[in-house]
């Protein structure tokens, strides 16, 4: 699966949300997932995506958050890729 990396650590709102929403246009089931690198949990974005059926996993590394967005059917592939 293709990993679409979006580093939003140094962007102020609404930049991070705009970038992830924009990359969602090219995220395809079975083909790709998004990996956002951010300075905090993007709760507004997560709550905005949840009703759309997009799932996510958050991994924290020190002060950096890694958020993976994917279609529900791709969960096992993504978990394997990111070693959950």
């Amino acid at each position: 699966m293709r990993e679409i990396v979006v580093d939003t650590r140094d962007l102020e709102p609404p930049g991070p949300m705009q970038m992830v929403l924009s990359e969602l246009q090219s995220m395809l089931p079975g083909e790709s997932f998004i990996h956002q690198i951010h300075r905090m949990e993007p709760t507004m974005l997560i709550n905005r995506l949840a009703p759309m059926g997009i799932e996510y996993i958050i991994k924290r590394d020190g002060s950096t958050y890694h958020i993976y967005y994917f279609y529900p059917e791709d969960r096992s592939h993504v978990e394997e890729r990111i070693d959950v």
């Binding site: 140094d10 709102p13 995220m27 709760t43 507004m44 905005r48 009703p51």
Partner: protein
Amino acid sequence: MFDGVSLDQAPPFEAPLLFFLTAPLFAIVGSILLEYGAGEFAILHAFSIGFLAFIMVGALLQMLPVVVGVKFERPKRVALLFWLPLVGGTLALIATLGFGQLSLALFAAATLLLALGGFALVTLVKLFKAPRKSDAVIAMILALLSLLLATLLGGHLLAALARGKELSLLPLHGALAGFGWVGLLIVGVSYQVIPMFYITQELPAIVRRPLAPAIFAALLSYALFQEEWLFKVVDGLFLLFALATFWRLFQRKRTVKEPTVAFFQVAMIFLAATALYGLFHGHDWRYLVAFGYGFAMSVVYGMLYKIIPFLVWFHLSSRGFFDIPTMRELISERLAWLHLYIHLASLSLLLTTTKSAAPLILAENLLFLWIIKAPILLYFRYKKRPSPFATST
């Protein structure tokens, strides 16, 4: 493929906006009361409920659905249901405390219990059911518990006032309302908005995690034992929050000077000064003014200059409008700097000659309304247009 934005969690912008626009009007009422020398408790409540509680209820109505995932059914109706008794109750309270209209005391107590007590209770029930409780959510829960207790005590005090009885629980009411409700809510909201809007690191977990529970525990201990040193523990904890937050804002990567960051920095300087004043001097009226006007109101102005344009972008973009001005273009920085200078001048006068601050408080709130007019008008202008999502499908 992902096919557009739908089923948004966010409540309509009108719900928080109703509260955000009422708050400066009550601050203007407060400035008029100050000018004409109405009772000090009437003036205090024009700002504490009229300004701060309106902003905070509005902010929670907005934040809880999108940040915590806690939803209010029919948000516009819910907003109006709390707004109406809150307006009536605040006006009745001002009439009771400022003009001796004791016949209105019980009406004020009932309406404020309905509005603030009801809001706290409903929101607490929803928050306890939230699937994940971040440090920000825990601080919000403790703030709402403080609001509930402060409102019950306030109702009791008004009933005692109407019957001419002693107001022995006044310090507890003040402590829970000011430092529990206002203070803890700002702590919780800051955890969320400062890293988000100002590109800072979060506060270290060793500070962030225990801070709100420790403040709440110290306040409750003070309420139970009424020992003055317990309130100094509260001062010490707020000093820690002020210094840690100021340090994070100082360390921020983006060095562009913005009025909204300056409002937050002023707020943290005043919080630290308030806490030191409390620790080494005492808890008099200057302490309350520095905490309420210097800290809490500075945070509110700084926060709204970010949140209002962000919400306008958020709501319009979720309807498919992407040709709108940027957040920065929606707020006049020049006027926001002017607002900060007037705010500092009115604060200096409040702390020294007090009454002479009234015209400046009036001016800064009229200016605030003028500054936020642009994003609000833009929202309503776009709202009338059909969504590009609707026309493209």
